[in-house]
Structure formats: C-alpha cells, structure tokens
Symmetry: C2
Subunit: 324 residues, 2 copies
C-alpha cells in the first residue's frame, strides 16, 4: 500500500481522533489552553491514539468511546514533549519554535504537568482499572527512561542493550501501552493483550530507531526538526554507537573528537555523518529497524486476518520508509 | 495540648508512615533513588499522609494498609516540590540546597515526573477507583494552580479572592484530597466524604496563609527557608495584598517601588515588612488563618467525638502557632 492509500484508509479515524482531542474539556485557565493547543495541534502524527483505535477494532471492539479514550495517549505524549523541550533545550519542535522558547521553562514544565494529569483523568473517566494500571506503569517506565537518557549523555561506551532499554522506555513503552489498552477495551485475555503489547513494543522500537536515523539523514524541512540535534546534545544513538564499535582506531578517535567538540559547526556534524556511513552505522540501524518491524508483524499475525489487521501491517511497514 | 504532647500522640503514626515511605519499591535507576530520597527524607512534616491515616481512623478504619496508601500524598507533594524548585529557582528547601542546585534542572524535572507517576501507581495498587478519581482531579487542580501562581507573579492588583483560589489549588486541594481519601477508605457516604474534604480544604488554607506569614516573619533557622523569597520573587501573598489595599498613597507608592526594585537588598525586604506591619497586613493574615481553622473545625465537629477527633482538633489549632 502506498502512502496515499494508507492515509486514505486511516483518514476517518484520524478525523475522529482530532474531534476527540478538541472535545476534551478545556482548562479554566486560558493560558494553559493556549500552550496545550500549541503542543497538541502542532502536526503530530496521532500514531498512539490511532493504534489504540485500530488494535481495539482488530479485536472486534467498535464502540465510538474508544476515540475518547485513545487521546489520553496523545496527551501523555504531549506532556513528555513539553518536558523534553525543557530538558533538551531544543530550538524547534515539529518545524515550530519549541514551547520553552515561547513561554519559558517554568510555564512549559507546569503545562506539561497539567497535560499529564489530564491524560490520567481521561483514563479514570473513560477507561477501566486495567487501563489505569497499564498507563501508570508506563508513565513510571517512561520517566525512568528519560532519566536514563539524561545520564547517558556523552556516554560513548553505551552498549546496544543499554540503547534499546532507553528507547524502549522513552518511546516503545507508550506505544505498547496504546496497543495493549485497545486490547483491554476489547476484552482480550491476558495472552492476547501481551501480544498486542509486544506488537506495539517492537513497532515502537522500529519507530525510534528510524527517528534516530532521521536525525542524521532526514531533511530538516520534512522532519520539522533541526538535523543533528542528538549528535550535538551528546545523545549516543544506534548509528553512532555501532560506528564507534566498528571503526578502526583512526576513525574512532576522530569520531570521539567530533563528539567532544565544544564548539561544533555544521561541518563537524557532516564529517561525523560521513564516518558513521563509512562504518556501516546507518545500514546497521536500518537493518535493526527492519528486524523490529518483522517482530512486530509476528505478533500481529496471531490475530485473525481482516482488513484492520492488514491496515496495521501496512502501518507497521510504513515506519521504515517514513521521512518525518 | 502543647507541641510535645501533640508530637507524642502522633509519633507512632509518623513512624509507620516513615516505614511505609521507605518500603515503596525503589527504582531500578539508582540516581532516581538518590534524588527521590533527598527530597522525600528532607525533614518533611508528613502532614498529608498523617491526615489520611487520622481521617480514616476517625471514621473507624484501622486497616494498616492505610499507611501504604497514605504515602502517595507525600509522593505527590514531593513531586510538586521538585518542579517548584525549578520553577521558583529557589536556593534552599527545608534548610538544604534545593534539588535543582545539586542535580540540575533537567534531572529535577524528570525525577519529579517519576515521583508523580509513582504516587499514581500507589493509588492504583492500594486504593480504589474513587481514590483515583480524587487524586487525578486534584493533580489537575494543582497543576492549574501552579500556572495561575506563575501568571500572577508581580500582579500587585491581585484580589483576595484570586489569592485564595491560588492557595486552594496549590496547597489546600491536596490536603483536602488526603483527608477525603481517608474517608473513602473508611467507606463513608458522599456527604461525610465532602465534610472531610472541606475540613482539609480549610485546614490547608490556614496552613498556606501561615506559610505565607512565615515567609515574612519566620526565623530562617527554624523554617529552613530563605526569608522573604515570596517577596523577592514577586509573589503577592495575603499580608502584602492587604497592605497594598489599606495603605495610604505614600505607603502604597513606596511598597510598589520596593516590589519593583530589580536589585533588592535585605533592607528592601525589611522596609517592606515594616510597611506591611503598619498597614495591618500581618494581623489581617493571622485573623484569616484563624477563621479558616474555625471553618475546618466546624466540619470536623460533625463527626463523633473520640480521641482521634480531638487529636485532629489539636493538629488543626497547632497550624496557627507553628513556627516552621
């Protein structure tokens, strides 16, 4: 399925997700609505709510209340984006100025807290106790993941296992939860719930590895982010990690020098990119993302073949070719 | 009851609360435990968990699991302290360096998120759906309150009503929730639950007004905080607000000049304090705190007279004479 057909197939769901996002009761504090709106309607892909809706439908659950529940994952995601903005000091997010540059760190932290609380209230209002368990467990994992990522800044000795732990916690855990909660609402048994969780986990890992690739190889106008921000911030992601392991002594020394350059220029980044390319870092990351997609599909194939399953398959494969 | 007798009467409960706090399963990330421990065991008064335990007992609930539940309110409180640290840029908290000065803003924000998630997981594990509703509703109110407070910095036209709205949200709402959840665990009906909520709300308002008084009149070695931080940060609290309304033109102009002084010295603060004193700002705040204590007691007196009620009465009255 090409990108246009895929978008057409999910367009109605996306519209209903947008409607549900807009329908969430606003805060009495207009400023909070302003910041929330800025981050929630900044062109997000709505991947997480979409997966909740599709995983529920895959298992026969068609109640329209699923849209109301699904947006909690977008709220949680937006909350982490706001705190990430402050923690990373990013200039741009989705092609627009990062929230902390517009409203300051203080308001950005506090509105992040608000969106987080709002997400949990949606879970209380629309979900059930099992959904709440999954959501609170996931937020714990995520916050630990963010701390781990921070502690690993400039850690050029990061192992692939440690890298995977970080991206599982910071990205894949929430996507896995979004999928599992779709299954919970559909009344699945524990085994099938865990399959949906694994489906989301591997999809999420593929998604984040691709994201990390795009930070090196994307086109800034398409991704809406600065290129090379991970590198500049000292975040060691899979392409760099692999290159550091594979490089000969001279390439390795040069890469380390480029990472530690306290006053990097655009050429610093471009040179690092050339070395990583030469050491096979990008090819390896592409291969790993492909393997995660296959593992995601394996879990999906346990469910009966139907149009929703085929849509989820296409969505999963699309992760590998996305450009933003 | 004097302070020593009061402390003796609650000492066993406080010990069991400390034990429950220590027993919460630690994070797999040692750094998170380090920061959490620093903020959780920094000499907090444990007022919130204590109120949960005592309100439950007031209504006949003696199950020791109440201690495990009660600490969720200390976790929530600690999470807001960490985010406040960053937002306020405070130097000291409880007589020790503020967390963000030790670990940086980034880690402090993220460990705050972790403690928040941990609090909600305790609610999921130990509480019930009603507890969760109250807790998520409260966290929403609190995050809005923090934003309101931020927006009101330097707002010398703040009304008393607006001030009360802010302190309700930032302090009293959580204390009210701690009391109400004690009642929920005891199986109270809605009306009695709401009474405990109001008891906690008025107690919390009295507590915060006293806190705001101590920021002007406390002894730094006792409060463990810098004196005059609210004033320096442009936070308009009740004594100042009242003084601005009551002052003659000359005092008012002078107060405004002192508030807007971009390079304040200790004498700036002392002069402001003298003007506020002269305008009756401190007397008025003391009177208002006393009225809130009376309203708290009114709600408490609907419950049967027993030793726990008398302890709660003493605790409530003690708010007015506390020095830290």
């Amino acid at each position: 399925m090409d990108k246009e057909s895929l978008l057409a197939a999910i367009s109605e769901d996306l519209e209903r997700i947008e409607a549900a996002l807009s329908a969430v009761q606003a805060s009495q504090v207009p400023f909070i609505n302003e910041v929330s709106h800025y981050i929630l309607f900044a062109g997000g892909k709505r991947l997480r709510p979409l997966l909740t809706v599709l995983c529920a439908r895959l298992c026969g659950y068609e109640d329209p209340r699923i849209y109301e529940l699904s947006v909690l994952f977008e709220y949680l995601h937006a909350a982490t984006l706001l705190h990430d903005d402050v923690v990373d000091g990013a200039e741009f997010r989705r092609g627009r100025r990062a929230a902390h540059n517009l409203w300051g760190n203080q308001a950005t932290i506090l509105v992040g807290d608000y969106l987080y609380a709002r997400a949990l209230r949606i879970a209380v209002e629309k979900g059930n106790f099992e959904v709440l368990k999954v959501v609170t467990e996931t937020t714990l994992l995520m916050s630990e993941g963010e701390v781990l990522q921070l502690l690993n800044v400039d850690n050029t000795g990061l192992t692939e296992e440690e890298y995977e732990e970080v991206i599982f916690r910071k990205t894949a855990a929430l996507i896995a939860a979004a999928c599992e909660c779709g299954g919970i609402m559909a009344g699945l048994g524990l085994e099938d719930r865990k399959r949906l969780h694994r489906f989301g986990k591997h999809l999420g890992l593929a998604f984040q590895i691709t994201d990390d690739l795009l930070d090196y190889l994307g086109v800034s106008q398409e991704t809406g982010k600065d290129l090379g921000t991970d590198f500049k911030e000292g975040k060691v992601t899979l392409p760099l990690l692999y290159a550091l392991n594979q490089a000969d002594d001279s390439d390795r020394a040069r890469l380390l020098a480029l990472i530690r350059d306290l006053d990097p220029t655009p050429e610093t980044f471009r040179e690092a990119r050339r070395i990583i390319e030469r050491c096979g870092g990008f090819d390896y990351a592409r291969k790993r993302a492909g393997e995660e997609v296959e593992k995601a599909l394996e879990n999906l194939f346990h469910f009966p073949d139907n149009p929703t399953r085929r849509l989820l398959e296409d969505l999963t494969r699309f992760i590998l070719v996305r450009r933003k």
